[in-house]
């Protein structure tokens, strides 16, 4: 029926009905996927959050008990995990964005070997998470790791990095900068799209490099910064493997990342119902933070369409 072509002589209504059907058939996998693997589990998870579901699949309704346990502090780890993750987000997100932006700005200058540099910056992002964790365990090794060796060679006593509860989160944030290449590539593409004539106009008005950056680059790049900020924020809240493989949440729970805490609740302590409640709190936090970024965005994100004069 879909293969049989539409003849122009068919009526408009029949044409629309046939297109409607074809549209649904083509999108059917995605529609089913959304129902089966996103919306359905989402509702189930909300429901399970009010039960004591165990790994065997048995459950009883227990009302708000899971949430009460978290927020009252009876679960010793909830606030800890929240605090650890917040620290990590506050540290790693700005570091990654600023570092990626700097590299992209540098790449956008008339330099040689642009695509080679771009490939090099992107390369670490394709390394499997488990391998990344292995590499950095070795690099950050307090006795024989490359980083402490290099520090020692210039006379600085190295740190204990991930083995000290004061430095574990900064260390992991630093490590996250290694895989910032995806953001760099997006920034670079955005920079290449900034119309040249805007820079020329600023120069004609007597503006220097700073004026060009402040009044052309930043406003024109704000949608791209916004996009990268949102995706990086959402990703950083969900760090798991680093804690699982490198630190096991330690030392002294200092790297008890939220998703690691959730995983432990579900698969080590087999409190699946409680883990669902924990997941929903994460979802609400992520939504709230994203909303906040969206809300403030009309103050700092500049969209070219319609109001072109604002950039200058």
């Amino acid at each position: 029926m879909m293969v049989a072509g539409m003849r122009p002589r068919a009526g408009k209504a029949a044409y629309a009905a046939r297109e409607n059907l074809a549209g649904w058939l083509f999108a059917l996998p995605a529609a089913l996927g959304f129902l089966l693997f996103t919306l359905g589990p989402m509702i189930a998870s909300l429901f399970y959050g009010f039960t004591d579901l165990t790994i065997s699949g048995k459950w009883n309704l227990i009302g708000l008990e899971n949430y009460a346990r978290m927020f009252s502090g009876r679960d010793n780890y909830f606030y800890k995990a929240l605090w650890v993750t917040t620290q990590y987000v506050l540290m790693s997100v700005p570091m990654k964005i600023v570092y990626a932006f700097l590299l992209a700005m540098a790449l956008n200058q008339p330099v040689r070997g642009k695509s080679v540099f771009r490939t090099i910056f992107y390369l670490p992002t394709i390394v499997p998470t488990v391998a990344i964790s292995m590499i950095w365990l070795w690099l950050l090794n307090p006795d024989f790791g490359l980083i402490n060796q290099m520090l020692r060679s210039v006379g600085i006593k190295g740190l204990k990095w991930i083995y000290d509860k004061r430095s574990v989160i900064p260390s992991l944030s630093l490590m996250s900068m290694w895989t910032t290449g995806g953001i760099t590539v997006v920034f670079l593409a955005g920079l290449q799209d900034v119309p040249k004539h805007l820079y020329e106009a600023t120069s004609l008005d007597g503006g220097g490099a700073w004026a060009r950056f402040r009044h052309v680059t930043l406003p024109m790049m704000s949608p791209t910064i916004f996009f990268n900020l949102c995706t990086t924020l959402i990703g950083s809240f969900q760090v798991f493997s680093e804690a699982y493989i490198m630190t096991n949440g330690g030392p002294d729970n200092a790297s008890l990342f939220y998703v690691f805490y959730l995983y432990r609740e579900a698969f080590s302590f087999t409190r699946m119902g409680s883990a669902c409640a924990i997941a929903w709190v994460l979802f609400i936090i992520i939504m709230a933070v994203t909303m906040l970024v969206f809300k403030t965005s009309d103050r700092w994100v500049f969209y070219q369409a319609g109001e072109g004069g604002k950039a200058l």
Binding site: M2, V3, G5, M6, E19, N20, L21, A22, L25, F26, A27, P29, A30, L32, F34, F37, T38, P41, M42, A44, S45, Y48, L53, G57, L102, L103, A106, L107, Q109, F117, I120, F121, L123, I126, P128, T129, A131, M134, I135, W136, W138, F144, L146, S153, W178, V185, V186, G190, T224, Y244, I245, V259, A266, F267, M272, C276, W280, L282, F283, M287
Partner: protein, 280 residues
């Protein structure tokens, strides 16, 4: 030399310094990984450290392969990857065609749902999915890892392909339509061939995402004979956590296929990220 020229040269020196420092920071960990993987245990602990292994100990790799059945894990992972990549490419391109080209009731609502679902943390759906698959008897099989890819292949990929399809002039479909071509013909003989680079991008992303996946196999696979390379590497770490040379060799083994795929398709990949990031 004029002042302007001098200033420009200083600026370019600064730019190149930044780029070279960034490149060094990107490459040094990878270099360190490879060099450590070829050293003996006594060589790896020499202070100050050596930059080049001598002699090259290839036997580290033989050891890594004999301790953990990485050959088997390669095959396991390849099987999952094949299922995921084909499912993703086929179903995401079908859906993207519907979203980019056809008018049907509910299109915009479903598209909005899909885009919004990208914000949903995987942790929210993880537990019901695990419980559901277990109840259906599919725990400790590859079904939960492969089958979902056959249902749209992820919102991100649908979005990416839709962006590509929208860049193809509509007149092409319309003239084929007038000539009597149906939707399937238009999809197969116009859109698919013209968007081959985009399909390659989606395939590559799916390949890398699947090869690198850790949490999925960790949750679903319990028999070690079914393990993927990532799980094998993790298991290796548990057994040999002081033998850094062997751990680095095992990490190289886990990393090699993605590096190869990346270098084959990097041009497409960078285009792909660029398109979603900018139009997104």
């Amino acid at each position: 030399m004029t002042v302007g020229k001098l200033r420009k040269n200083t600026w370019m020196v600064f730019v190149y310094t930044l780029l070279l420092a960034g490149a060094a920071a990107s490459l040094a960990p990878l270099y360190w990984l490879v060099r450590s993987s070829f050293m003996s245990l006594s060589q790896i602990f020499i202070l100050p450290p050596k930059w080049i292994p001598s002699p090259f100990r290839w036997s580290n790799y033989a050891k890594a392969f004999s301790v953990v059945p990485f050959g088997r894990y390669y095959l396991n992972t390849a099987l999952i990857v094949a299922g995921v990549v084909s499912g993703t490419v086929i179903t995401s391109s079908l859906s993207a065609y519907a979203f980019a080209r056809l008018r049907w009731r509910g299109r915009n609502a479903l598209f909005a749902c899909l885009i919004a679902s990208m914000m949903l943390p995987f942790a929210v759906t993880m537990i019901p999915l695990f419980v559901g698959w277990s109840r259906l008897g599919f725990a400790n099989t590859y079904v939960p890892l492969i089958l979902p890819a056959w249902f749209g292949g992820g919102a991100y990929n649908i979005f990416l392909l839709r962006q590509f399809y929208m860049t193809i002039p509509r007149e092409l479909d319309e003239s084929a339509f007038v000539d009597g071509a149906g939707y399937v013909t238009i999809y197969r003989s116009i859109l698919l061939p013209l968007t081959r680079p985009a399909l390659i991008v989606v395939g590559m992303f799916a390949f890398m995402g699947c090869w690198n996946d850790f949490l999925g196999p960790l949750i679903y696979l319990s028999s070690s004979s079914l393990y993927t390379v990532s799980l094998g590497l993790r298991m290796f770490q548990g057994m040999y956590n002081a033998e850094w040379n062997l751990m680095m060799a095992a990490s190289v083994v886990a990393l090699l296929p993605v590096i190869v795929v990346f270098f084959i398709g990097q041009r497409y990949i960078i285009e792909g990220i660029t398109l979603t990031g900018i139009k997104g």
